[in-house]
């Protein structure tokens, strides 16, 4: 999946399921949108369904360092590249 496609899907999830108002790619998820640890776990489940494969525990732990939507996209691109190799 290209970054543009991923971006559209993630933004759609954040707006529809997490009720984000006008999300910006570099917004701080916690401070600007009240996104917390429970949301992070919930989002990972939705990402798994979007990508069509399960994330490893190590990959999920790395996701806890995410702060922005651009971080999410970087994270997903790295995972996709890792799987492709």
């Amino acid at each position: 999946m290209t970054r543009d496609v991923l971006q559209k899907k993630i933004l759609s999830i954040l707006v529809q399921d997490f009720e984000f108002q006008e999300p910006g790619l570099d917004d701080n998820l916690r401070e600007d949108h009240g996104f917390d640890s429970i949301d992070a776990i919930e989002l990972l489940g939705k990402i798994e369904r979007t990508l069509g494969f399960s994330l490893t525990r190590e990959e999920k732990e790395k996701a806890m360092e995410i702060r922005t939507i651009n971080d999410i996209l970087d994270y997903l691109e790295r995972i996709q590249q890792g799987r492709a190799q």
């Binding site: 997490f18 009720e19 429970i38 489940g45 369904r49 399960s54």
Partner: protein, 414 residues
């Protein structure tokens, strides 16, 4: 240290209305909240009892997503009545977050609706490779979901008691909250209970032959506490909360005093987990009088547990006669709402507070011919314009748990 404990705010979502005005109107007009059982697509067709104490009016919940994400239907009821109570109390944000306000709140078994969603995911074997159980499913369904959604929503940092003893859930919550304040562990407690629409509970009582099945064509004709033609209980839904405060601090801040909790007792029958027990119930009523340090003759109104099961009403009436004789008026308030399970103790206490405030007593709905096997009591025969000084709120649960709360009218609290 023994401190006095007063009730300074209350709210209830009930099958006969939400808020004092609509509930009092229903009590005065004899309006039942029992309706046909709603189809749940799972158990309804297998249940003989087709009636339910139903909350069928819209409620304007104003919870945002951050608040909603950990809430099942039961927590909606709980948080809404908690919100009402905190707003009505006038407590400052600092007091609420001080650690001196705790929460005692429960439900029969968390959110069965969410539990059902979880099991559907398990057994449909969908997306087995992915983490198909949502991160918040446990938080929405767990047995203490009501209590901690309340603490989370309002930033309450004091003690948490999440009683879960079926029909005595919220009467225990109020009793334990009263003891927390009485003995100085907390200065205020937000107490109550909630239970959501759930056919699982109906199925359980239906299988035990305890549900009403003979009035499916006339839902408002049942339950019929103490009536010769009663045929069992009717499950219901709702939420109810009270704020308890230490008397001196409540008085100092000018809080409205709706009533005083002057006594509480809780015991167990120590044996059978289902059958009502005359010795156990009688003992509970006497223990509450001892705790309040009053005589039986001082109690002038009894909100009986009175589920309308065949044996339960007989045993309770005998216990009331043994302790109180035939003096106090007796009403089975479940005749209006059905048996709202974990909510019933708090709900019936609040209905009693409303009647105290408006100087009337409601009769037991559908009580047309007193069962001769029930003791001869002063069953409230019709709406009576009378002031009540002290009331007894009685609740008994599966598991042999018995509770009794003794409440003094707020106008009598000096």
């Amino acid at each position: 240290m023994k401190r006095r404990v007063v009730i300074t705010a209350c709210s209830a979502i009930t099958p006969i209305g939400y808020g004092q005005q609509s509930i009092v109107e229903s009590l005065r007009l004899g309006r039942s909240g029992v309706k046909p059982l709603r189809d749940d697509g799972l158990l309804t067709d297998h249940i003989h009892s087709r009636v339910f104490g139903t909350v069928d009016y819209p409620i304007d919940y104003a919870f945002n997503r951050s608040q909603r994400k950990t809430m099942g239907p039961v927590a909606y009821y709980a948080c809404q009545v908690a919100k009402d109570v905190l707003e009505a109390s006038g407590l400052s944000k600092e007091s609420i977050a001080s650690g001196r306000l705790g929460v005692a709140f429960g439900s029969t078994h968390g959110s069965p609706t969410v539990q059902r969603e979880i099991y559907q995911t398990f057994f449909q074997n969908l997306e087995a490779e992915f983490s198909s159980i949502g991160a918040v499913d446990y938080l929405r369904s767990m047995v203490h979901t009501t209590a901690v959604n309340i603490t989370r929503m309002f930033g309450i940092t004091g003690r948490v008691i999440a009683s879960s003893t079926a029909c005595t859930t919220s009467s225990q919550a109020i009793g334990f909250g009263y003891e927390m304040i009485k003995f100085g562990m907390q200065d205020a407690m937000l107490c109550g209970g909630a239970d959501e629409y759930d056919t699982t509970t109906v199925a359980v009582f239906d299988n035990l032959l305890a549900c009403s099945v003979g009035y499916n064509d006339c839902p408002s004709c049942t339950p019929r506490p103490f009536d010769k033609k009663r045929d069992g209980l009717v499950v219901g839904e709702g939420g109810a909360a009270v704020l308890l405060e230490e008397y001196e601090s409540a008085k100092q801040r000018g809080a409205t005093i709706l009533g005083e909790v002057i006594g509480f007792a809780c015991n167990n029958n120590g044996g059978d987990l289902i059958l009502p027990n005359l010795d156990g119930i009688t003992s509970t009523l006497r223990l509450a009088l001892d705790d309040a340090n009053i005589e039986a003759k001082e109690v002038d109104y009894i909100s009986a547990h009175a589920t309308a099961t065949k044996m339960g009403d007989i045993i309770e009436s005998q216990a009331i006669e043994a302790v109180y004789g035939q003096s106090p008026y007796v009403t089975g308030l479940k005749s209006y709402t059905g048996h709202t399970m974990g909510t019933c103790g708090a709900m019936e206490l609040i209905m009693t507070l409303y009647m105290m405030a408006e100087d009337f007593l409601a009769p037991t709905l559908n009580l047309q011919e007193i069962d001769p096997r029930c003791a001869r009591l002063n069953y409230t025969p019709k709406v009576i314009e009378a002031s009540t000084r002290i009331a007894s709120i009685q609740n008994f649960a599966f598991g042999g748990v018995n509770t009794c709360l003794l409440i003094k009218n707020g106008n009598e609290v000096l």
